[in-house]
Symmetry: C2
Amino acid sequence: MVEERKLAVLRAIVEDYVATQEPVGSKTLVERHKLGVSPATVRNDMAALEDEGLIAQPHTSAGRIPTDKGYRFFVDRLTTLKAMSAAEKRAISSFLEDAHDLDDVVQRSVRLLAQLTQQVAIVQYPSLAKSTIRHIELVALSTNRLLAVLIMSTGRVEQRVVELPVELTDELIGELRLRLNSAAAGERIATAATALGALPEQADGAKSSAYTVIVASLVEAMSNHSTDDRVVVGGTANLARFGDNFEHSIRPMLEALEEHVVLLKLLGEATTSETVTVRIGTEGPIDELSSTSVVATGYGASDEALAALGVVGPTRMDYPGSMAAVRAVARYLSTILDEA
Amino acid sequence: MVEERKLAVLRAIVEDYVATQEPVGSKTLVERHKLGVSPATVRNDMAALEDEGLIAQPHTSAGRIPTDKGYRFFVDRLTTLKAMSAAEKRAISSFLEDAHDLDDVVQRSVRLLAQLTQQVAIVQYPSLAKSTIRHIELVALSTNRLLAVLIMSTGRVEQRVVELPVELTDELIGELRLRLNSAAAGERIATAATALGALPEQADGAKSSAYTVIVASLVEAMSNHSTDDRVVVGGTANLARFGDNFEHSIRPMLEALEEHVVLLKLLGEATTSETVTVRIGTEGPIDELSSTSVVATGYGASDEALAALGVVGPTRMDYPGSMAAVRAVARYLSTILDEA
DNA sequence: CTTGGCACTCCGGAGACCCGAGTGCCAGCC
DNA sequence: GGCTGGCACTCGGGTCTCCGGAGTGCCAAG
């Protein structure tokens, strides 16, 4: 038995099954893929592949379908990323470049990804922790409530209402704003926080105490990364193509998509932008989603990704296509954020 | 035939059908609702109701189900809003008050509404056009690109990148910021725009021309209400309870939920906060959603609503419950935004 | 106007049946 | 040793039939 052909058979099975969503038999396989051997031979190969746990048959006397392990093998060894067509590239860049807003960029990315892959797309907002502060704005809401608006270099805008135990004056706010910005601009939140901590000391006595409380409140509000988990989902209508098994596929999927925490888990460690991570079926962290796969990658600077994006779909998905689309969108997104 | 009983029968049919999702027959009806008459009598009533187009039978020899017209009658004449239980009220207010952010408030509202009604919930962000400007912040991105951040009284923050045909200086920005804010703070965008239009004239010659272009760009960016349509959707997992007819219920629903424009159409004219609007089945603007109903209302100031919120579900939904929940959430949301 | 009776309809589940695709294995062939 | 054709076997799933039960409409009597 030729090892090479056995792998060709595996590839053919994966491709066929992904395309038709039906168990594939030996006969149709040789017909569709010009393997140059007889069905019987393919059957032998299939038996071997089944022994290795790469494929399985749902019922006796049915065709074979790939197992998670089979997909894994396919993804790792039998596939190269499809290149995007020139037209697709053009579509991507023009679609994304029309955006005038970070919200807009993210929204468009999600749509794009969903449309390219015909799957559910997830895009995470640029992480607060990993981007730098461009500007801090303070707006008095009342004498003891302050709205702090953080404008990040990625264009992300974050706001916090801070309740203060002291009375505010316009003068105080103005001074605070100046100092805050000179201390924090260009820094990351974490480093800015320490820099800000030093601020009160530089002030003269009377204001020092006021500074102390205000800065402390600000720092606390800023470093509360509870909203660091902003994610946007799109293409849920593509779930409709999941096919039949409603209760076991679509419901848990919809539930997961509601829970941003779960989504973040799914995107998981895909925080490096150079590689596309593929999590197949039970490899994922969520038991309920044992028949779904995640294709994800990071975007932003190449060394340390700002955030992740990806698609989620049934294990029987077009991995090469999805991987290519995910990578392409991530790249364009990175360049766009770089410009901004 | 007693008219009053006939309506009781209609009510019973609606309630039963909503609860069981199965056509309801005369016999089970008298059993479950103690109508005090025989099934045969009820059958006569049913025949009359069917003549009036309020109920229908899916097949001969099946029970009856309400028609859209039947639901309409039920909603208009046979129902009073369920009061929320004290526990529910407490849950709502405490859940919403924990929010520290407009985004947070909206997000929580959507979840709350979805959970209360067990349906898909939609909440629209406070309209830009109808709220007032609290503060305008300008941040230089480069010498000829300016980031304008609009902070509205509702806590909504909107940003725009403005490309300018002139060089910016810190001094210019500072002055601009002062003038902008004194002219625009407390105004609505529309009125602010005209006020801003007058600004350049007040400046002295050299700066006047710079002002003119900058202000023009700003006004244009601000009054571009393309993002006025921000809506948030939640509870899509509840679609799973839609039941069987996948292709005809869930897919178009998911597709509609992706399109914010469509959602806005659905919320439609529900811009008054005093009444809860109910759109049943084909009464709605979207053909594909002919078997779904929308329960919506406005929130914000009582005279002119800031925006709308509501739930979308199958025509066979619990109207009294949904209406009550929608109204309750809208009210709490209004008070919260009032405080902020 | 209400009610019991009765004949009629028809949906939908259970069972029987069969076809066809697919398999495993074996013996022969290169 | 690997490939191939042949063959008996399996079994899912579509089709058909059948039947019960829930529901109806109508009618005549109270």
